[in-house]
Amino acid sequence: MSGSWMTTRAWLLMLPLLVVMVSVIGWPLVDTVRLSFTDAKLVGTEGNFVGFDNYAKMLSGSNFQRTLVTTTWFAVISVAAEMVLGVLAALLLNQQFRGRTLLRALMILPWALPTVVNATLWRLIYNPEYGALNAALTQIGLLDAYRSWLGEPNTALAALIVADCWKNFPLVALIALAALQAVPRDITAASMVDGAGPLARFRFVILPYLVGPLLVALVLRTIEAFKVFDIIWVMTRGGPANSTRTLSILVYQEAFSFQRAGSGASLALIVTLLVTVLAVAYAALVRKAAGSTA
């Protein structure tokens, strides 16, 4: 069978998928790029060509800069906490103890819950009148009076980060647990005979096996955290006083609440570009880590 026929056949087999991808991703993307250079509104007008005005306005606006800072805080803190919690949970679940299988199954639950359910659950926990958190903290004497955790600008973002961590650390734990189970038993035994304590064993023996898989988890979670929308929309809608407004919320507000399709599109493309840069940087890191443990 000739090489050219093989190539043609491959393209023919791929064609249905290509058609779907072009129509649901390619065309909207091209149209978003077109829109971003216009002053189009969501309804009514097609808009006029305005060049890079939308980009300039968005990048120089205080809204964008403040939101970028909020998003970065949210992504960095929640992903870092998820990594630490995930690895600790994996180390615990990798030990031999009674009920380990049950605990492993239970740990997956938060991650398996739909984000909207998780967000609603945490809104109930944080409720300023009958929330479990307020009740628990006042009963053990850490709090004098009930607080509105999601209603105060200085606690809302932290409260959201906790909810996001609770949902997503199981994914990191699962990935880390799989990596831990791949650590050869002989190497752990050798390190014990060599006199490595728990910390040295983690650093020299276990961590090298965790780095690669954890980098993959880091890439996935950072990109997701940077694009976060649903949990925040359900819990705070970006408030109070825009203290929890992330880039995706800003894009939504610009395009749909204020109906400015042109500037909304330019903002969406800026977010896409930022996420792409992150993804490329992380991919390079993963390749480097994979190379060093090969």
Binding site: D186, I187, G197, S292
Partner: protein, 361 residues
């Protein structure tokens, strides 16, 4: 005082008894090989000595102290694993020196010890490489180096040559022998390879089902097997075992009318006793025409030339008889020939207990 004393060690996994009371006393500088097939408990025993598994009962002493309950790092042992167990992200230098680094040995002293071990093992040029950049044989040398630098009282080897190809295995075997002759350290070595056991050991413990079948020098194990299992396990091809019955001072081969005289050392065995007769394939030779002495007539079925020897598989009264002959022996398949042997090469076992029959000295 023994260098290593294993006293009545038992190990249970639930209802399964993996080790059923092991007793071994090892003098300083001895090379003990634990030999047995998979599942016989040899690796479990090694792991108990290392502290990687706990004994259900019994005691292990290194020098004058009991080490049961002592952490592996404090037992004054070093272990070489089948999979090498090198730390993949550390250089060869740090791998070898890892045990010393963990024990906070000063850098200069550590470097000196690493250099010395590397020189002994001829891996000085590899010190800055990572394990992934080494061949199997080089990795095994690094693993041995890591054990050597610690200068422990007892070295433990868990099938260290199993992952190497045949040629490299032979090289490393010689290397290990050379190292032991040079360092005179106490070694416990686990293997299922009888050639490794025979060539390396000063004593061999043949294990089966969690028990020691026989503990002795390689010469004793080979020439005076204590049980049918040892007789069949040690030697390649294994010892021929033929069913025989004692009749009027003769041994009658079952399924045939062939008889051979009962050796005088077994004269006390009663008439009519059913026994297993053992004779090593390499103890057989082709009898010359009209030769006198002990011979067994058999019909040759298969002849295999391995290079250094000719292996003939023959039948005598429906029972298999294998002979290892000189490579230039002229022998054809289907021929009926007589195989000669010396009386000392003949072993008798009780087929019910599997134990060797007591012969007069």
């Amino acid at each position: 005082m023994s260098a290593l004393e294993i006293q009545n060690i038992r190990k249970n996994y639930g209802a399964v008894e993996t080790l059923k009371g092991i007793d071994i006393s090892l003098q300083s500088g001895e090379f003990l090989v634990l030999l047995g097939s998979s599942g016989c408990g040899k690796s479990t025993l090694l792991n108990i000595i290392a502290g990687l598994a706990e004994a259900t009962s019994g005691d292990i002493r290194i020098g004058d102290r009991s080490i049961l309950g002592v952490h592996p790092k404090d037992r004054d042992i070093a272990m070489v694993f089948q999979s090498y167990a090198l730390y993949p992200n550390l250089s060869v230098r740090r791998n070898i020196g890892f045990g010393l680094e963990m024990r906070k040995v000063p850098v200069a002293e550590r470097d000196k010890a690493v250099q010395e071990a590397a020189r002994l093992l001829q891996i000085e040029a590899l010190l800055d490489r990572k394990p992934s950049q080494l061949s199997g044989g080089q990795r095994q040398r690094v693993a041995i180096g890591r054990a050597l630098v610690r200068k422990p009282q007892v070295f433990l080897f868990d099938e260290p040559l199993s992952n190497l190809d045949a040629k490299l295995r032979l090289e490393m075997r010689t290397e290990l022998k050379r190292l032991h002759q040079m360092l005179r350290t106490t070694v416990v070595y686990v293997t299922h390879d009888q050639i490794e056991a025979m060539t390396l050991a000063t004593r061999i413990a043949v294990m089966k089902d969690g028990r020691i079948e026989q503990l002795g020098t390689p010469e004793e194990i080979y020439n005076r097997p204590a049980t049918l299992y040892v007789a069949g396990f040690v030697g390649a091809p294994p010892m021929n075992i033929l069913d025989v019955t004692v009749r009027n001072g003769l041994l009658e081969i079952a399924g045939s009318d062939v008889t051979i005289p009962l050796p005088p050392r077994y004269a006390t065995i009663g008439d009519g006793t059913r026994l297993s007769l053992g004779i090593r394939p390499e103890a057989l030779r082709l009898a010359a025409e009209g030769a006198v002495g002990l011979t067994l007539p058999a019909k040759v079925e298969v002849v295999e030339l391995t290079g250094p020897e000719l292996i003939a598989t023959a039948r005598i009264g429906g029972q298999k008889l294998i002979a290892c002959l000189a490579p230039r022996t002229r022998l054809g398949e289907g021929e009926s020939r007589r195989f000669a042997f010396e009386e000392e090469a003949l072993h008798l076992f009780d087929p019910t207990t599997g134990l060797a029959c007591e012969g007069a000295p």
